[in-house]
Amino acid sequence: MERTILVRYGEIHLKGLNRPFFERALMNNLRDALRPFVGARVERRDGRVYVEGVAPEDEKAAVDRLCRVFGVHSVSRVVGVDKGLDSIAAAALDLIREAAKEAPATFKVRARRSDKRFPLNSMELAAEIGGRALKALPYLKVDVHRPQIMLDIEVRERAYLYTDAKKAVGGMPVGTGGRAMLLLSGGIDSPVAGYMIARRGVAVDCVHFESVPYTSGQARQKVIDLATIMAGYCGPMRLHIVSFTEIQQKLYEDGPPPLLTILMRRFMMRIAERLAKKRRCGALITGENLGQVASQTMDSLNATNAVVSIPVFRPLIGFDKAGIMDRARQIGTYETSILPYDDCCSVFVPRHPATRPRPGEPEKAEAKMDVDAMVEAALSGVETLDIRPAENEW
């Protein structure tokens, strides 16, 4: 008897001729995710991915880790035995006993065989094992519609049995959908937005704007920590840190106060787009959410959108704040996001920010500035950090 972990992937099956490409990406990401589990091997057989060589005491942690890899649909701990009916029955009883914990429970056995030479067909095998289980464990009852315990048996080159299928994050393997640049602020929304796009198979780079001396090293560390949490799902990624102080001071001196936030956002978008092109990103991602703050009204979004030509993904646009917070808690970024360090957006906040900039208004204000030179200057000081998932660090 040996134990292995079975990884099922969902949506990839939809992808006709591209399928090998998606599978390769998934395999690579799985290997990367399992790096802390020394000795773990990822193998593909019969259109399934199996993970072998995980120490029994690490199995639960490995399953949890695999469940966070985008593209994985569900994960099961599997017992493999030889194809004798007695060995299958013995393994089945062990698994059911473990799942039922000696308490009354309903169960169902489901069998499949790809080895058609196996003497029993699927229905017969399920009935046989179910019968033996009922006889051996009197506290069991059969329920074929909504069983509490579902025992699966698959007969292939060996027989594989499992009871638990842990639901994973789903989505598509990171890297199969190109790359995009996330504007990561340090707040609650942007990590969630990045997560959602990464889950569609997109590799994410992050850009963060800081305003030293108005923002501190603690604020920077917070953003690094957020990116590190995201890397737990998205894999290793790059974080670009842009010093934004000079632009903010220039806007403060020369820009009309109500427009400060919108002008600032326009500069951020310009810089992010430039970095995106350099890194071959096909889009920008923001955590913007319609109506949340003055710079996120439809008019303001139009004004900030106008300065870039690549698509801007705003996956949170129609969410409400509570919904975003719930997702941030699920992902694990919430507690870090709410640490109280100023970010560059809370520096020089106008008393009465414009919520409905008139068309042409921001352009008029910018006409007095050397916009290109300001963007160039900011780009020349970009610092790029490599972010790896925390568990890969040691």
Partner: protein, 383 residues
Amino acid sequence: MIYLDNSATTKPFGEAADAVDRALREDFFNPAAAYSPAVQLHTRIEKGRAQMLRTLKADTGKLVFTSGGTEANNLAVFGALSAMRGRDRHVVTTTVEHASVAGVFHTLEENGYEVTWLPVDAHGALRPDTLKNALRADTCLVSFMHVNNEVGAINDILALSELTKKHCPRALVHCDGVQAYGRLTPNLSVCPIDLYAVSAHKFHGPKGAGALYVREGVRVAPLFMGGGQEGGLRSGTSNAPATLGMLEAARICYRTQRELVGRLSGCKRALVEGLAGIGDMFVNGPPPEEGAPHILNVSFLGVRGETLLHSLEQHGIYVSTGSACSAHSHMESRVLAALGIDGERLLGAVRISFGAYNTPAEMPEVADRIRTEVAHLRRYRRM
């Protein structure tokens, strides 16, 4: 780099760091063991203990080695009160104590003690007449700091302790000496202080070491139960590396105290002179020449302390804020508020604290940098 946050921690003396290193690599023994290298280590520590006790001019009494200032303060107050036999439940402290003392008194309050929190004067010092009015027949412990860590106010510990003993002979006097030891080391043969706490890393020793002086005859109950080290007052395998580092730092401070204080006050004087003429600048706490030689707390109106801190940081100058503040949370300084400081002056406070590695010669550069940064930041007053 010009490091001016010596009230937060100091860079260890090279000799102190060497002593720690040697103890870690070579003399790694448990000083309680019976073979000769361990016995020699034990002997060195005990000799050092006696010498350090002498720096406090204490011929009797004992010095208990702890993990630092916080533990020393906790052991002093909790330990002394729990060893008391009487029923008295009135204790006295001030509103400007360090968190390791204030926290202890808050806990005492929750546990049925009556705490009198005494106000301080506009410079941050406790006045003897304020203390006098608070003393009662059932007062069993009085605690005040020697030097305030935020503004550098120096308490008249002789007057305060004598006054306490005069009116409440049975009350114990605890003094948090963390910011004073090594610079303003007290004479405990004259001052009737019963418990005096120090921390090694504030006087160029290593982190993780501190000491509590306990006057002869004063009973203290331990906080930790275990192997009975430190005369039963502090169980736990003795931290020989940190202790030897502390003893080395204490020795250097003792030998060079006069020179050290001269250097610290020279730095302070030079910086104050360099800052002269900056408009809307306020010194918080005592006037520079009256406060501790190593602490200067100043506010520049219109500039947040935190912002100035980070802009000096960009030029390799490290200071601290009197009050950390952000748009989301206001953690204003309790001490400055107790001194009646508020508004822009409270938000603008920065604490500049000097150490043995600073020189008066580098202060003009610091002053010029502050002048430039303040002028620059004042152009962008935040809305």
